[in-house]
Amino acid sequence: MKGMTIIVKTISSWVKVLIFLFGIYIILFGHLTPGGGFAGGVILASSYVLVMLAFGREFVEKNLSLPVASKLDCVGALLFILIAILGLVFGGVFFVNFLYQKYLPGQALNLISAGTIPLSNIAIGLKVGASLFLVIFVLSTFKGAPSAEKGVWDSSRFSRNSKIDPEVTETDSLGKEE
């Protein structure tokens, strides 16, 4: 996948910051306006998709890192479960909105209100953004070429070929769960 012209590259490197900011706005105001964690996460991922489309495959493989996104994904999910368990510790029941009921009620319809819901939105936004970025990154930079065995009957039909090609597995993110 080659990159595009220099006009597109320049403009997209300015616009990607705005898209990222818009995604953060949708996540943070998720308890007041429509959107919330999932929609904001998708917008965050789409700013990276813009970079991928404008700059091409080689640039993206060199400069955007896969392990960091994978670890951010896990951190997002663990943060969400941590909020649920803190509800158990402080409030007595799993997932209870302990910030709203005891510590920090805030005023209705302001940014700081509704307890743990904005924190859950941030955790989900982080996870969804990282997951979608990983999925689109891996699927678009996959080095897939049809193998030469098409049409040849595999004589070892039942025997297990247990060693997999190491270079094919490096880019494997089969079934990355949300």
Partner: protein
């Protein structure tokens, strides 16, 4: 009447998933079925002449910041909207997995045609 059209869309998606021979077209058929189901769920919550269930400053009345009666009586049911949001996220995960298996199968077999990918028999 709109519910019957939703069901028609569901059946079209089912036909596409069952009859077509290209793997990507089968995946698109499943996607059409998911759209039809989500559409059906959202239409269930509709109330004639209703407003969107978003609480603004004008809808909060009273001393304790409770939502006003008029808002509750005229807004559309928000529960199916939450259900559909969850269903869309689930179908996104499932779609990502299906597409990655299609890509891997193309790498191994060299074709997207399911009549050529028939090593398992019996």
């Amino acid at each position: 009447m709109p519910y019957a059209l939703c069901f028609l869309l569901f059946v079209i998606g089912l036909y596409c998933a069952v009859v077509k021979k290209n793997m990507v077209k089968i995946v698109i058929g499943i996607l059409i079925m998911e759209y039809a189901t989500n559409l059906f769920l959202i239409m269930l919550g509709y109330r004639t002449g209703g407003i969107a269930p978003i609480v603004g400053k004008a809808d909060v009345a009273g001393f304790e910041a409770q939502v006003s009666e008029m808002f509750v009586n005229s807004c559309v049911d928000p529960l199916p909207q939450a259900l559909v949001l969850t269903a869309i996220v689930i179908s996104l995960g499932s779609l990502a997995l299906m597409i990655s298996i299609c890509i891997r199968t193309y790498e191994r077999y060299g074709t997207f045609d399911i009549t050529q990918i028939r090593r398992l028999k019996g």
